[in-house]
Amino acid sequence: MMFLKARFILGIALRHLTGKRRQTALVIAGVAVGSMVMILTFGLAEGVMTDIKNKIIDISPLITVKGEKIRGKQRLLMTSSPYSKNHFEIVSRIVPDEKKEVKPYTEVVSLVDALPGIDAVSPFVATRGVLRYSTLSRPCIVKGVIPEREARIGKLGQNIRTGSLNELSYTKNGILLGIGLAGKIGAGYHDLVRFTGENGKVYDLVVAGTFASGFGAVDDNNAFINLRLAQTISGFSENVVSAIGIHTESLEDVNPLSREISRLTGYKTETWEEANANLLSLFERNNNITFFLVIFVFVVAGFGIANVLITIVLQKQRDIAVMKSMGVSIGTLELVFLAEGMILGIAGAVIGGVAGHYLTNLISALPVSYGPSAVVRGDHIVTVQKPVFYVLTTLFAILVSAVSGYGPARRAARLKPVDILRA
């Protein structure tokens, strides 16, 4: 019975649509464009996020042990009020500006090293200064590292353009420059550069190589030196670092391990997501805006569906009246026109889904060049395709066609046969 009814409804719906081939094709094309753009937008948005996340993971530790001790609740001090004997005042403890340091770092490193799921541990000292080559100078962030350990955090080893990490490790006064930074001061491999540290002292360093991380800000501002030298510049003793970078074997373990390390060592820890929350939330917001715009493409497609259905209802008034006179129920007629909307929506979503798949592939295959000021650099647009995107797009197309079909369907089903047959 249900099957019969469905067959009856679909039979009429399909005949109506095939009777208006050109208009039907145009409307399906409209929905298809909406679906295609949605698939592409999903792919690009997810691609940008994935690209950024991958690049962040490539260049920065997944967990950083920061040189800040965890404190209990801030203690409140009660003091007697200078104004009245019967009053007192509560003052929160004023914390002196402590130097950020992990001490003794070797203990923390061996503690973390022993934990399961840890892939690499790299202590470092971050400091700032001014780098100068001939007449050009530039402020920069310098990270003192143990090159062999740092190489295992992210992909620094693979990002080297000239020289090597190895060369840095055996050159006590070596410096590895970000490719942008090297370009800005005009220094190249084996050039002698002058670094003025936070302490005001001047160090002559040899460029042991250059690296390109893909992040404009990093490549333009960062450099690596040996840990010992950075300790000297920062005035740290040999068992002190400013922080420790950690790489875990799996991304899923990052959050639990971060909490575990903090608990074990007593130092604050920060995951890569926490450290880059600003950047990530910016892109997330950007993606949300894009989705709103894509939804409007669908709304326009919905108008197309409504339009063709209104046309069919108007042209088929007499047929609708005849069907009603032979006893076709209001519900069945409504379903006929809703089915027509659904057919348009689903056909559009299927065609748009296939087109979106190929368009996304095409776009990610195109070579592109990013300007020097790009936040994230690369040689192609990264896209990601997931089944859930196709499911969501199809559901959205169905929703839009149902909403657009509802009005015309209702109108058709409520036509009074006499009004049409008499005319």
């Binding site: 019969l4 067959r7 009856f8 095939t18 009603k324 032979m326 006893g327």
Partner: protein, 235 residues
């Protein structure tokens, strides 16, 4: 009285026409009552605008009277809901209009199947079997899979008659069924109606202003200004 298949009792029908801001109410049928007996072949005649088509729509449950009652098969159809009316029309009535009003996207046989499938009264195979049988009776056995636009006017109207008969209706209601046909095709339709009435006892009510057609029926109800002017039994 027992045999009255259709009963109209003090039926009043007004039609409101909106003309700009004001509503003009025209009384089409002031007060009309009559019975139609099972097995009768009745013609409703009268000049155009006399209210005969309105009368037919009231009998068919396509329209409702402003007051008075319409009974079909001892049920008051003037008191039914839309959905009850749809079920009633599907089960008990068949309509033929001045124009064939076949659905253009469907073949002859599919058009005839439609009333049977509309409310799941028959399965597809059963509906097709009956449709083929009906069309063959109408002399259209070789036109089963033609679309309406591939048929002549007379053929289209015969398909429409077959469609009206699909669910074995108690009453066949026809509104000027020959009004749009040449005399030869019209003749075929008269014969068809007369034969149906004679052979199967099909109750038929036909609105027409074709005197010749009317004279072939068993009873003529002449309507003038919405009132029963004469009621002549011919047989």
């Amino acid at each position: 009285m027992e045999d009255a298949l259709i009963r109209l009792r003090n039926v009043k029908k007004e039609l409101a026409i909106r003309n700009g801001g004001e509503e003009i109410v025209t009384t089409i049928l002031p007060d009309i009552s009559f019975d139609i007996t099972r097995g009768e072949f009745t013609a409703i005649t009268g000049p155009s605008g006399s209210g005969k088509t309105t009368l037919l729509y009231l009998m068919g449950g396509l329209d409702k009277p402003n007051s008075g009652s319409v009974f079909l098969d001892n049920e008051e159809i003037s008191a039914m809901t839309e959905e009850e009316l749809a079920e009633m029309r599907n089960a008990k009535l068949g309509f033929v209009y001045q124009f064939h009003f076949l659905l253009p996207e469907f073949t002859a046989v599919e058009n005839v199947m439609m009333p049977m499938l509309a409310r799941g009264r028959a399965g597809v195979n059963e509906a097709r079997r009956r449709a083929v049988e009906l069309l063959s009776e109408m002399g259209l056995a070789d036109k089963l899979n033609n679309k309406p636009n591939q048929l002549s006017g007379g053929q289209q109207q015969r398909v429409a008659v077959a469609r009206a008969l699909a669910n074995h209706p108690m009453v066949l209601l026809a509104d000027e069924p020959t009004g749009n046909l040449d005399s030869k095709s019209a003749e075929v339709i008269y014969r068809l109606f007369a034969r149906l009435n004679e052979e199967t006892g099909q109750t038929i009510v036909v609105v027409t202003h074709d005197e010749h057609f009317a004279s072939e029926t068993g009873r003529i109800l002449h309507i003038l200004d919405g009132q029963l002017d004469s009621d002549r039994k011919l047989r």
